[in-house]
């Protein structure tokens, strides 16, 4: 009894901080999402109406919300696997015994992660400029007509995905690299003695050994990619034709641009449910596989 009291004493500061800065804001947002808090309510609280689940009904009927959701899924479904494949690929290359100047490459490939996004965005906007950009210049050399990368609704999201993958793959690469180095050499030796080809070694040794890391990286990356915001904010402002509006960007506009905190909180709650469901699905699938 005394012991548990002491234990509570130890965790109390942490709990207090979490409660103040995490639970309380979340609870407030949940309450806000049931009201129509806006600029009028800021002026006079009597202008605040409790609307129950009306916000939810309205947001779910807003075409832009569904478009934002579609854009976000597009970004996640294409971006996450691509990002993980690039991370894993570069980790394998760096891990290879044939690779030279490993520290140099490791640093160079990790550099985008620690570069400020705004600076990156400026350079990328130049690269993808329709008439003067390097990308179109290079494509022009092989006879491809100029593409309006960020101005065409069909190519804007792929460009954003490219940016996000390039910007983020280094982080996961380092995690993969650390895990690759932890796989004991004997396992590969045994595989080789059994006559496994390099590809077979990868599929039957490397991948299973990396499975827990893959799951972790998958969850973190998915949760992160669902929160797509900064890339379209600095590159396209959601355009063209709202093709790069993500759920979070939609929320930002409702909340901080138009001061509809009721609606914005509703979107936040919906996004929370979404990420929670997807992450839970992830763990379920892998648990089933582990059990089978």
């Amino acid at each position: 009894m005394r012991l548990s009291a002491i234990a509570w004493g130890f965790v109390a500061p942490a709990l207090l901080v979490i409660g103040m800065f995490f639970l309380l804001p979340v609870a407030t947002a949940a309450v806000l999402s049931l009201t129509d808090f806006d600029i009028y309510a800021l002026a006079d609280l009597r202008n605040l109406r409790f609307v129950g689940f009306e916000n939810y009904a309205r947001v779910l009927q807003t075409p832009l919300f569904w478009q934002a959701l579609g854009n976000t899924f597009y970004f996640v479904v294409v971006g996450v696997p691509l990002s993980i494949m690039v991370s894993l690929g570069s980790a394998l290359l760096l891990h290879s015994r044939l690779a030279r100047f490993k520290p140099l490459f490791r640093t160079a490939l990790f550099a985008p992660v620690v570069t400020t996004l705004v600076a990156v965005a400026v350079v990328w906007r130049y690269l993808f400029q329709t008439r003067y950009g390097m990308v179109n210049y290079a494509l022009g050399q092989i006879g491809v007509h100029p593409i309006d990368w960020l101005g065409d609704p069909r190519t804007a999201m792929p460009t954003i995905i490219l940016l996000a993958v390039w910007k983020n793959f280094g982080y996961n690469m380092v995690i993969f690299l650390a895990n690759l180095q932890a796989i004991p050499e004997e396992v590969y030796e045994a595989a080789r003695i059994d006559g496994a080809s390099t590809f077979q070694q990868f599929v039957h040794v490397t991948l299973p050994m990396l499975a827990p890391t893959l799951l972790l990286v998958g969850i973190i990356t998915t949760a992160g990619y669902f929160q797509l915001f900064a890339e379209p904010y600095v590159m396209t402002q959601g355009g063209p034709l709202r093709s790069t509006v993500s759920v979070l960007y939609f929320m930002y506009e409702e909340g901080f641009k138009w001061w509809n905190f009721g609606t914005a909180s509703t979107v936040a709650m919906l996004l929370f449910v979404l990420i929670f469901a997807v992450t839970w699905g992830f763990t379920r699938v892998t648990k089933n596989e582990a059990g089978a």
């Binding site: 202008n47 003067y132 960020l150 402002q237 355009g239 001061w259």
Partner: protein, 390 residues
């Protein structure tokens, strides 16, 4: 805010010399953060006495009941005289019939154009009506060929379309700002005229992110017409190469039948309700509204004064590029004074983008726009309905 926040420091010593009992403290804000900062300051009860406010923000802060009524102060003032101000600008400061701010400087949109390319295409004078404008656009486009354009209308800027919309007889919002009025024949005409410039290949469908540098592109003749504001006079003088300096001019915006209206933008000076120094703040407003001080302010910042008297001073009267603005300022119309306006203008531009990309026709687009605007104004309707009984 912005550049104004810097240059006002040079105007204040004279004010403090004349009013030794008043000491002015300035706080500078960048424009991009000003709106949020002021709203946060309102929530935290930390607003200044006197403040510069973009005149589209005036209705919003009036809705917050954060602004002092200035009617009686103006009535007693010998400096601030309503008849000397451009009427369209003066009007932007009224919310529900009460004066909430005093115009400090004005901002409207006019045509900037390449006079050499226009005359090459066969036009010695700038267009005055929509018909003339379309003929000029077609001729210039023919002159410059497929790789270049006649006009630049960045798809993320709502001001050009807003100006065309304000030229129409029908108001953009109906019934005291309760409902959208974009399905009116007038706005449909404006939207049709606007989108035609893209359909006919006169304007490239670009956002301003797609244009690397407006001034170099203008100098190279990538486009010949550009709708922009007063700050660009100085920018064009400074940034266009010397050999191009005689090839550009400004002109008032053409209207459906002869010279048309344009937007009434700019900044106003307001006194917040929380202020405990109203008389002192008002003295500063009067000082900054003196024509001599306004001309000095123009010299320092390039901003255009809202008073006709100030325009008679040599520096402004002698500027050939400013003349179009003086002419235009007699024909400016305010945007609807509702707090939701910024968002409505944004929706208007998004809808125009849909039409430009061929996703909707004019009729569908304006009906859809009205539907969205009506939804945005729902709370306002509720507020107005509630106010009535009392």
């Amino acid at each position: 805010m912005g550049r104004e926040g810097e240059v006002i420091e040079q105007l204040l010593p004279e004010f403090e010399r004349r009013n030794p009992d008043i000491h002015v403290q300035i706080q500078q804000l960048p424009w991009t953060a000003a709106h949020e900062k002021l709203l946060t300051a309102f929530a935290g009860d930390a607003l200044p006495d006197l403040c510069q406010l973009g005149n589209t923000w005036v209705p919003e802060f009036a809705a917050l009941d954060a602004l002092t009524d200035l009617d009686s102060l103006v009535a007693r003032s010998s400096v601030v005289r309503a008849e000397d101000y451009f009427p369209g600008i003066w009007e932007t400061n009224f919310v529900d019939g009460r004066m909430k701010g005093i115009p400090w400087y004005v901002d409207t949109r006019v045509l900037f154009f390449r006079s050499d390319l226009l005359s090459k295409a066969g036009f010695q004078t700038p267009p005055r009506s929509w018909d003339e404008w379309q003929r000029a656009l077609a001729a210039v486009k023919k002159e410059v060929g497929p790789a270049r354009y006649a006009i630049l209308l960045p798809l993320n800027e709502f001001e050009p379309l807003l100006a065309l919309g304000l030229q129409q007889e029908e108001p953009l919002l109906r019934d005291d700002g309760r409902w959208g009025g974009f399905s009116s024949p007038g706005f449909r005409r404006a939207l049709d005229f606007y989108t035609q410039m893209f359909r006919n290949g006169w304007a490239p469908s670009l956002t301003d992110a797609g244009i690397s540098n407006v001034w170099t592109e203008f100098a190279q003749g990538y486009f010949s017409f550009y709708i922009s504001g007063p700050w660009n006079i100085e920018e064009f003088k400074r940034r266009l190469p010397a050999e191009r300096q005689h090839d550009w001019m400004t002109a008032p915006l053409p209207g459906p039948h002869g010279p048309g209206a344009s937007t009434a933008g700019g900044s106003s000076l307001v006194i917040f309700r929380s202020s405990r120094h109203v008389p002192a703040a008002w003295r500063l407003i009067e000082y900054l509204s003196e024509p001599v001080v306004q001309v000095r302010f123009h010299e320092l910042s390039g901003n255009l004064p809202p008073r006709r008297t100030a325009w008679q001073y040599k520096r402004l009267a002698g500027d050939v590029y400013a003349r179009a603005f003086l002419d235009q300022l007699e024909r400016v119309r305010p945007a609807p004074a509702v707090p939701e306006w910024e968002r409505i203008a944004n929706e208007m531009q998004l809808t125009a983008e849909l039409v430009v990309h061929g996703k909707m026709n004019i009729e569908e687009a304006t009906r859809e726009l009205d539907r969205r605007v009506d939804a945005i104004l729902a709370k306002r309707r509720w507020m107005l309905a509630r106010r009535k009984p009392s």
